[in-house]
């Protein structure tokens, strides 16, 4: 795994990837569920409570992931 990514097994649920964003204390945690669902947690400096939580299906996650990884789309 890349630098700044921590892996944590969540028994029975899936695997959690904690990604350090190196900008102050922002971080993103992604839980990849065994059922294919992705739970995306965004933490900002404000505190321990996540600033945003989004649940994505496998399809949606693939779409968002493709955009994030820089795939080029046209209309």
């Amino acid at each position: 795994m890349g630098k700044g990514v921590r892996i944590q097994e969540l028994p029975g649920l899936g695997t959690r990837y904690d990604v350090d964003l190196h900008s102050g204390s922002d971080r993103v945690s992604i839980v990849v569920g065994r059922d294919g669902k992705r739970h995306l947690y965004v933490f900002t400096q404000a505190g321990d409570e996540p600033a945003a939580v989004i649940e994505l299906t496998e399809d949606q996650a693939r779409k968002v992931g493709a955009v994030l990884s820089g795939t080029f789309f046209t209309d």
Partner: protein, 492 residues
């Protein structure tokens, strides 16, 4: 054929709608299925869907079998085996305290020894489905204590199999101690055989099950599962264990993923029927007579869970928030308690056991989500010494691995060897600390100016480490705890 389709349809529909109503308020589904059964069952004055609840028996039993089959199927063997000794100790403490208290309560009620064992299991084993759903809904998947909670409930699932293996012979009505021991021996021997099949025979089972067509996979698989469950029941081990173990076997075959996909809708519908059927067997008139014991049981459960949460928190070095969350998230009781209640009914135990467990599950179903969501109030009143009384020895043995701020470590090495602020003031210092977020080097709390702590108060950067040669510890201001890297994490 004169099947009561109208009654069956109405029951399932009402159960689904009730559960949907409950979900809107964040309550678990299982108790609502049971509630539908109670409301439309023969014992209330209102409309009755089924005059003869026993007509539901075969469907309900099938529901129990697929429910446990699916549990075995998705049991995360590798994740459990890979988790450390600490988790087993924590889960052992959780189960020990809860089952122990349940046994105490069961015997204190004076309904009988067999009844006591059923009640101990029903109040002692939590619902993994409820706890998992709560964690997702309360947005706590990223919390430090969450892997621990999930680990505990998964080990509890495994414990259920052992408990059932112990309970079935006890309930079977052996006449002497020797006969009882023999039956327990058979029960555990059978469990060992199925473990063996799961370990070495999965390949062969896989060959029988694996065809290209999902239709045939479904039929052959369900046939096998029901057959094994039936054989298990026949030789005096419970059908539930047989189903669970065959689930573990299928989980190791090549068709595992397809099996899960096929089993889920079957489980959803038929397990609901199982819970409904349990509801219809409840005599509402009995509920009044068990109200006081149930309230006592609920109080005991809350206390034992919070205690287990504190023990777990100490083992894993969690802070107050973690301790409260562990204790209050694992509070829900559901499917397993109802399975045990059904066993009790089947063995002809005291009539009060069923209503007792039904009411207990209903109350906790409402209470558990509320308490879990408000765990922060409990966290505020947990005194430090319950979690950290080993602080004095912490230099030798750093205890905590569960600080939630490790992600804020950006820098761990520095060439700096003086406290800049002290140098400017012309002061001296005792030892140096380094901020792990921005790398600032400052003097410690034994020094005159305490610049490291002052830096935390300005910047809120939570973690420092000692720059003293050979010290190797980190301290988190926010969690007020000494920390080291979480076990098993890789930062490379």
């Amino acid at each position: 054929m004169h099947a009561n389709l109208i009654g069956l349809g109405a029951l399932i529909l009402v159960a689904g709608l009730l559960a949907r109503f409950g979900r809107r308020m964040g309550l678990p589904t299982v108790p609502f299925f049971m509630l539908a059964g109670i409301l439309l069952g023969p014992s209330t004055g209102g409309p009755v869907a089924f005059e003869h609840p026993e007509d539901l028996d075969i469907l309900a039993l099938f529901g129990l079998v697929v429910l446990l089959f699916h549990l075995g199927l998705e049991f995360p063997v590798e994740q459990v085996l890979g988790s450390g000794k600490r988790l087993y100790i924590a889960a052992g403490a959780y189960i020990g305290i809860n089952i122990g208290a349940g046994l105490g309560l069961g015997f204190a009620l004076g309904w009988g020894a067999k009844e006591a064992f059923v009640i101990a299991g029903a109040v002692g084993i939590s619902s993994s489905a409820i706890a998992t759903k709560l964690l997702i809904e309360m947005r706590r998947l990223a919390n430090a204590e969450t892997p621990v909670i999930l680990g505990i409930i998964v080990i509890e699932d495994l414990f259920l199999a052992l408990y059932l293996a112990l309970l079935s012979p006890i309930l079977s009505g052996a006449n002497s101690a020797g006969e009882l021991l023999l039956r327990i021996g058979i029960s555990f021997g059978y469990l060992a055989v199925l473990f063996g099949v799961a370990r070495w025979g999965a390949k062969w089972i896989g060959k029988v099950l694996d065809t290209r067509e999902d239709e045939l996979v479904a039929i052959i698989m369900i046939g096998l599962v029901v057959l094994v469950a039936g054989i298990s029941a026949d030789i005096g081990v419970s059908d539930a264990i047989g189903a669970l173990m065959i689930g573990l076997v299928v989980a190791r075959t090549s068709i595992r993923e397809r099996a899960e996909r096929i089993a889920i809708p079957l489980r959803d519908v038929f397990a609901a029927i199982f819970f409904i059927a349990f509801g219809t067997s409840i005599d509402v008139g009995e509920i009044g007579s068990v109200a006081v014991p149930v309230l006592i049981a609920v109080c005991i459960t809350v206390v034992t869970n919070v205690s287990a949460g504190l023990i777990t928190a100490r083992l894993f070095g969690l802070n107050q928030r973690g301790a409260a969350n562990v204790g209050l998230t694992v509070l829900g009781r559901g499917e397993f308690s109802l399975i045990l209640a059904t066993l009790a009914a089947g063995a002809g135990l005291d009539d009060r056991v069923g209503p007792f467990i039904a009411l207990y599950v209903l109350i906790l179903a409402v209470l558990a989500p509320i308490l879990a969501a408000n765990s922060k109030y409990l966290a505020r009143i947990i005194p430090d010494r319950l979690l950290h009384d080993r602080w004095r020895y912490v230099r030798e043995e750093t205890i905590s691995t569960a600080c939630t701020h490790l992600d804020r470590i950006n820098i761990t090495e520095t060439d700096e060897d003086e406290c800049q602020e002290c140098v400017e003031l012309g002061d001296t210092w005792v030892q140096l600390r380094m901020c792990l977020t921005c790398g600032q080097v400052a003097c410690c709390d034994d020094s005159k100016n305490k610049h490291a702590t002052a830096h935390y108060e300005d910047s809120r950067h939570p973690l420092i480490r000692s720059l003293q040669e050979g010290d190797g510890w980190q301290y988190c201001y926010e969690d007020q705890t000494l920390v080291r890297e979480p076990a098993g994490s890789s930062r490379s």
